[in-house]
Symmetry: C2
């Protein structure tokens, strides 16, 4: 095919802003990140489902609230024909993985067994104005556990262990999972005399503590009916930097109300589970100031901060929701989930030089064609032998001088070159050159695979 790109002004050649595209270096880094995430999702007993990128607008609209309401992409046919499908106006791109999960569970309720654990790693779309660090298409990696009627709070503890597994292996730096509980916050607000109709507003105010500071939060809480001294004591509690056990002990001494006590007992159970799951103490902390938005969450809430990149916000967040499927099938479907915003994290880390992007090839071995394609049969045979042994390799299939081929190898990030010049071809030997150290050895072609295996 011929796509005449010369007709296109340069700016049209770039992907639309907010729709990131990745060169091999970046795509390899993303693949590594996604593989690590998937591995830990699977280790923890989560299995994949696949929901389409496109949902019915009725389904998407049922939960697109606030900002998101204005960001949902619908579909249209650019040039509809007479026999085009007529339902295009009813189709929209998904904006998260939770709404499709709710529809999926409702559609497949009877086929599934509970607790149901699923993961999904895929793109979601939001039609917002693109700006630094905001994307219109981005990959979210989610796990959720869904119960039929009930779901033990220990599932919440497992979320912390998964986050710990993922970010320990990614080794991006120190991180900690902050664990909060909406019931504790709500109980506190109740006991401080905040009128119930202002709870969700107050939670929203608290959620912005880090952004707007303590003074402004106290002021806004006052306007919601919480006296200055009450607000101060609340903020003291929320911002104290005591150890997990000290916080739990302090909370257990208070007996404010049922809501509060329920939340405290959930927090305690989550900490118990997190410890049983061998998550190191420095990887999690109770942070009562976390509220996570206004509506979804009903119990445990999580955020994860990466040291040195606090301005990225939370890199893995989630929490407990009471009911995914509401009155469907006459049953409650409580759940707990987390979501890792892969695209934003990846592109930020690349920019900060925190992930390796020096290599633009997955294969580490380049089979050169030192004597030209006339001898391609030999070179291709080496490649076939390496591949059959599970060693990815590329064959340089063009007639160019060896030094140009080695320059290509260096530019791409190959670390081993297989070289066979005329005498090698004659003697059935090859030279294996380590392109990093410059070391090389001549081996019999029958030892090619084993030599490369041992040099890797």
């Amino acid at each position: 095919m011929s796509l005449n790109m010369a007709k296109f002004p340069k700016q049209l050649l770039e992907s639309p802003s907010g729709f990131p595209e990745l060169t091999p270096k970046e795509a390899i880094a993303q693949m590594w990140m996604l593989d690590v995430i998937r591995k830990h999702f699977e280790l923890a007993g989560y299995s994949p489902i696949e929901t389409p990128l496109v949902e019915r607008t009725e389904v998407v609209s049922a939960k697109s609230e606030g900002e998101i309401k204005n960001q949902v992409y619908g579909l249209r046919l650019l040039n509809p024909a007479e026999d085009s499908p007529s339902d295009t106006k009813d189709l929209a791109l998904r904006f998260d993985h939770t709404v499709p999960l709710a529809r999926f569970i409702a559609a497949h309720y009877r086929e599934l067994s509970y607790p149901f654990r699923r993961y999904v790693i895929g793109s979601v779309f939001r039609g917002e104005r693109p700006k630094e660090g905001r994307y219109r298409q981005f990959i979210q990696a989610d796990i959720d556990a869904i119960g039929d009627g009930t779901l033990d709070v220990l599932h919440d503890a497992e979320m912390v262990a998964v986050i710990n597994g993922v970010f320990s292996e990614l080794a991006l730096g120190n991180f900690s999972v902050r664990i909060g509980n909406r019931k504790v916050l709500q109980g506190l607000l109740e006991s401080l005399g905040a009128p119930p109709e202002h709870f969700s507003k107050a939670l929203g105010v608290l959620d912005r503590l880090e952004k707007i500071g303590r003074g402004e939060v106290a002021q806004e809480l006052a306007s919601l009916g919480i006296s200055k001294p009450s607000a101060e004591s609340l903020l003291d509690l929320l911002t104290s930097s005591r150890s997990t056990d000290e916080v739990l002990a302090a909370l257990k001494e208070e007996h404010l109300n049922n809501m509060f006590e329920e939340g405290v007992s959930e927090l305690e159970e989550v900490v118990r589970g997190v410890r049983a799951l061998s998550v190191p103490e420095n990887r999690f902390v109770i942070d009562l100031s976390i509220a996570r938005g206004l509506e979804y969450y009903t119990g445990t809430v999580f955020e994860t901060r990466l040291s040195g990149h606090e301005d990225l916000g939370s890199i893995a967040s989630g929490g407990r929701y009471d009911d995914l499927g509401s009155t469907f099938a006459g049953r409650n479907l409580p759940g707990v989930g987390i979501s890792i915003g892969v695209t934003r994290l990846l592109l930020r880390l690349i920019k900060a030089g925190l992930v390796e992007t020096d290599e633009s090839t997955i294969a580490k071995v380049l089979v050169t064609t030192a004597e030209g394609l006339e001898h391609a049969d030999d070179y291709l045979k080496y490649a076939a032998a390496l591949r059959a042994a599970g060693i990815p390799c590329e064959v340089y299939l063009a007639d160019r001088p060896l030094d140009k081929q080695l320059a290509f190898a260096n530019k791409r990030g190959f670390t081993i070159a297989v070289i066979a010049k005329a005498p090698n071809l004659k003697n059935d030997t090859v030279i294996i050159r380590n392109l990093v150290s410059g070391d090389q050895q001549e081996v019999s072609t029958s030892d090619l695979v084993s030599s490369i295996k041992s040099s890797a």
Copy 2:
């Protein structure tokens, strides 16, 4: 969150028709297929890039021809706000991976080194009327090699080796890659007196040989200026079932015209490469009747048939195109690529019972909680130890009788249950039960990991 699905009529709970969704069983089968495909793409030296699912309409429209022209999905905002991005009308979903590749190469031309090998595995969209075996969203897995100015025909041979690698490992049954060449066909038509302006129509007619039969093809060729005897001798040649070497020998005896001879020599070189790459003789065949559509391809063309599923059509197809980027940068960018239609193949194989979909869990080990969540600390510790050793497992985190837990394990497809009853908890032992054979053994908790490793 609460998505009140009770409000939705049952038919709205299903994913929109033509947008397939996969339950864990099916998603696990798809993951297996995608992992095998990716592995062989990487073994052959292909590296990933990621282009967005959304492109500018100008880019997509530049190559959407024929049927596809009416099938391109544009975007619209369902509820635009005042500050919504203004370019939504310029955005469309990709309908293949080749157009985005062309744009990508043009945009990143100078950063890349050539020959450039990339793979991409992802969804594409076509707004056609859904029917049996046709999807509006489907996964295509593509590799392409792009040269800067030239690209040796041995790259075409590598495509056959990759297809062989993928489908040998998938083990879906016998398959063979049919290798054709557009130049040979075109040279033949020329020599038979077909007027040049009818070449592409004649290729289209030949492409339908299997569908409409020999008689009708001969008739249609006649209407394009090819005499009956010429058409018959052409069809004899195209449908002869001779061996690869016999076909090549026969073709080399003819010296019809330059176009023909160039094609024959390319075919010969591809066969040479395929053999050097150790592809077994029964996995490929020269099939001169393959034309692959009307426009894109200019040399080698491939199709792949799965025995017993010929009606599926080609499961992996592609070919050589002369110029991906046309006059961009004043250079030709010739390429060769193949595409595997994953979704269609997967769903067909599932329907035919050809892929294993008995298990709806990736983890094979279920840690039961025989003595209830009161003892969750112990059970979670077993799970943490297994996961740390790389063994995926789920903990049954609900207070239910052991027999119900084992029924859950069987329904889901777990093959090993870890059971610790009161005496086990006391003695620091666990029972490892093989759920398939029913065998079980009691081991010390310190031997849990090694025992499960050796029993797997």
